[in-house]
C-alpha cells in the first residue's frame, strides 16, 4: 500500500510546473493587493453559455413565452461547480462546512405590465421587485440536497417569501447527472396581494370580480434536471419545473377565469468552460 501510494504521490509531485493546467491566456499580476482580500493570482475557470426557457407569461398565466438566458460563472480552477437548482436565487455561501452552507440570497422579480398581455388589461402595473434574504443548504448525504430560502421583497412587493426544496442528485456516470425533487413556496399577504388581488377600480376596468388575496401556502411543485458534460469544456443541461398554485393565489379570479394554476417551466442550455491564469 505504502509503495503504491508513494509512487502515485511522487508522480503527482514530479510533474513539472509547465505541465500544469492548460490555460487559454495569462493575465499579468495585479499591480497591488487589496487588503483583506485573497490574491487573485492563480488559475481561474470561466463558464460562458446560452440557455433558453419557456415559462408562463406571468405567474398564473395559461400562456407561455420563450426567454433567452445568458450563462456566466467564474470560479477558482478545479473548484467544484456546486449543484444548483433552476429555481435557486443568486446566493453566496459565507458559511461553508461542506455538507452545510448558508449565506445571503437575492432574487429579481420582473415587473408585470398590464398592457403587455390581454388577460391583465385593467389590472394596473406591478413594478419590479427585489427580494433580499438568506439561504441554508444541507446535504445529509452527497446525493440529497435540502434547501430553504427566506427573502424580503422591496419595490413591486414588500412581503416575505419562503422557498423550501429537496433534490435527489444521482450521478449515473461521472459525466451524466440527473436530479429531481419537490418544491414548496409560502408568501405573505404583502407578497401575494399585488399580483392576485383585484380592487374596485381594477374590477371595473378589467371585468373581473373584486378579490382580496391573502398570504399563505403559495405553491407546491416538482422539478427535475439533467446535465451532461460532453468533455471538460462543454456541458449541456435541461430542466423542467412544475408548480401548482395554492390558496388565495389559485383562487384569484385572474387565475381562475383567465389563467391557470398549473405553471410549467422548461429550459435548456449549453455552456463552454475555459481556464485562464493570473500571474
Amino acid at each position: 500500500m505504502l509503495r503504491t501510494f508513494l509512487a502515485a504521490f511522487g508522480a503527482i509531485l514530479a510533474i513539472p510546473h509547465s505541465a500544469s493546467a492548460q490555460t487559454a491566456f495569462t493575465l499579468p499580476a495585479p499591480p497591488f493587493d487589496v487588503p483583506m482580500l485573497p490574491s487573485p493570482s492563480g488559475n481561474w475557470t470561466v463558464m460562458v453559455g446560452i440557455g433558453g426557457e419557456y415559462t408562463p407569461d406571468f405567474v398564473g398565466s395559461k400562456n407561455g413565452k420563450f426567454l433567452p438566458i445568458p450563462i456566466f460563472t467564474i470560479r477558482r480552477a478545479g473548484s467544484v461547480d456546486q449543484f444548483r437548482g433552476p429555481r435557486d436565487s443568486a446566493s453566496i455561501a459565507l458559511f461553508d462546512v461542506g455538507y452545510f452552507r448558508a449565506g445571503p440570497a437575492f432574487k429579481y422579480v420582473a415587473s408585470r405590465k398590464s398592457d403587455k398581455y390581454s388577460e391583465l388589461t385593467g389590472l394596473g402595473d406591478v413594478k419590479a421587485a427585489y427580494e433580499l434574504g438568506g439561504f441554508v443548504e444541507y446535504f445529509p448525504v452527497d446525493w440529497l440536497r435540502l434547501r430553504s430560502e427566506l427573502r424580503q421583497g422591496m419595490g413591486g412587493h414588500t412581503g416575505t417569501v419562503a422557498d423550501v426544496s429537496a433534490d435527489v442528485i444521482v450521478p449515473l456516470i461521472q459525466r451524466l447527472t440527473i436530479s429531481a425533487g419537490p418544491r414548496f413556496t409560502w408568501k405573505s399577504t404583502k407578497a401575494t396581494a399585488p399580483y392576485f388581488s383585484v380592487d374596485a377600480a381594477q374590477s371595473l376596468a378589467s371585468g373581473l370580480p373584486m378579490y382580496d388575496a391573502k398570504g399563505g401556502a403559495h405553491s407546491v411543485g416538482f422539478g427535475s434536471q439533467i446535465s451532461y458534460r460532453i468533455n471538460p469544456q462543454w456541458e449541456v443541461h435541461a430542466y423542467v419545473e412544475y408548480e401548482k398554485l395554492l390558496g388565495n393565489a389559485a383562487d384569484s379570479p385572474l387565475v381562475k377565469l383567465r389563467g391557470s394554476s398549473n405553471q410549467t417551466t422548461v429550459g435548456l442550455g449549453a455552456s463552454y468552460s475555459f481556464d485562464f491564469r493570473i500571474r
Binding site: 505504502l2 503504491t4 501510494f5 508513494l6 502515485a8 504521490f9 508522480a11 503527482i12 509531485l13 510533474i15 505541465a19 500544469s20 493546467a21 492548460q22 499591480p31 497591488f32 493587493d33 483583506m36 482580500l37 485573497p38 490574491s39 493570482s41 492563480g42 488559475n43 475557470t45 477558482r76 480552477a77 478545479g78 473548484s79 467544484v80 456546486q82 449543484f83 455561501a93 459565507l94 458559511f95 461553508d96 462546512v97 461542506g98 455538507y99 446535504f139 445529509p140 448525504v141 452527497d142 446525493w143 440536497r145 442528485i169 444521482v170 450521478p171 449515473l172 456516470i173 461521472q174 459525466r175 458534460r229 468533455n231 471538460p232 481556464d275
Partner: protein, 218 residues
C-alpha cells in the same frame, strides 16, 4: 466648486495609484531581498479516505496517521534541492502537529479579517529565528461532489450508479513568511495538474484504480 471637486477626485486617484505602486514595490523587493530561508512542511501527518457521490448515510470519511511514512521530510528534502540554487536553505525545527492542526474558519469573512494564524506559529514555534524568510507548506482543501471536503494528502472515491472513480490527491498551499516582521509576503495554493478530467479538485490530483473499501487500517 466644480474645480475643487475635480481636484479632490484627481488627488484621491493619485493617492490610490501611488499607494498601489508602493505596495507592489514592497512585495517585489521583499521577495528579491530574501537570501536565507527555512522550510516548514506539515501536510504528511495524516491521509484522508473520502467517498462522495452515491454513498450511504453516515459515511463521513476517515483519516489515518501516516507520519511514519516521512512525507514531510521528503518534501523538505525536495524543496531544499529546488531552492538550493537560489537561496541558502537552513534546516529548521518546529512542532509539525501544531502547523497541521490549523484550519480555516467555516465562516469565509473570518478568514479575510483575522491575521494569518501561521504568522504567529512561525514567530513562536520555529527555530532558529532571524532567517530572511520561512517557507511554510501546509494542507489545502477542496470540494469533492456536493457535500464533501477533502484536504491534504489522500485517496478519494466518487461513486455513481454505474461506475466508481478513484483519485489520489496532494492538496497543498505555500506561504512565504518574512523572517523579521512575519508578514505573509506570498500565499499560493497548488493548481490542478491538468484540466482534462471531469472530476476535478482544486489542487494536484490524479486518477487511480484502487477503491476505498473496508476499514482504514487495511
Amino acid at each position: 466648486m466644480r474645480r475643487r471637486v475635480i481636484l479632490c477626485v484627481v488627488c484621491a486617484i493619485a493617492c490610490v495609484v501611488l499607494g498601489a505602486a508602493a505596495a507592489f514595490e514592497t512585495r517585489t523587493t521583499r521577495l528579491q531581498a530574501i537570501k536565507t530561508v527555512g522550510i516548514v512542511s506539515a501536510i504528511g501527518e495524516e491521509m484522508s479516505l473520502t467517498q462522495a457521490g452515491l454513498v450511504v448515510l453516515g459515511n463521513a470519511g476517515q483519516s489515518v496517521s501516516i507520519s511514519a511514512w516521512g512525507l514531510d521530510e521528503l518534501i523538505v528534502q525536495q524543496a531544499t534541492k529546488l531552492l538550493g540554487g537560489r537561496f541558502r536553505v537552513q534546516a529548521v525545527s518546529y512542532r509539525r502537529a501544531a502547523f497541521a492542526a490549523i484550519r480555516d474558519s467555516a465562516v469565509a469573512p473570518v478568514n479575510l479579517l483575522r491575521s494569518d494564524p501561521f504568522k504567529e506559529l512561525v514567530r513562536s514555534d520555529v527555530t532558529p529565528q532571524g532567517l530572511d524568510a520561512y517557507i511554510v507548506i501546509t494542507r489545502a482543501r477542496s470540494k469533492l461532489g456536493n457535500g464533501r471536503i477533502v484536504e491534504g494528502v489522500g485517496l478519494a472515491q466518487y461513486r455513481t450508479l454505474l461506475a466508481d472513480y478513484g483519485l489520489i490527491h496532494a492538496l497543498y498551499e505555500i506561504r512565504v513568511i518574512e523572517g523579521k516582521s512575519f508578514d505573509v509576503i506570498e500565499k499560493r495554493a497548488a493548481a490542478p495538474l491538468d484540466n482534462t478530467g471531469t472530476m476535478r479538485l482544486a489542487g494536484p490530483s490524479g486518477p487511480v484504480d484502487a477503491t476505498i473499501d473496508g476499514p482504514a487500517s487495511s
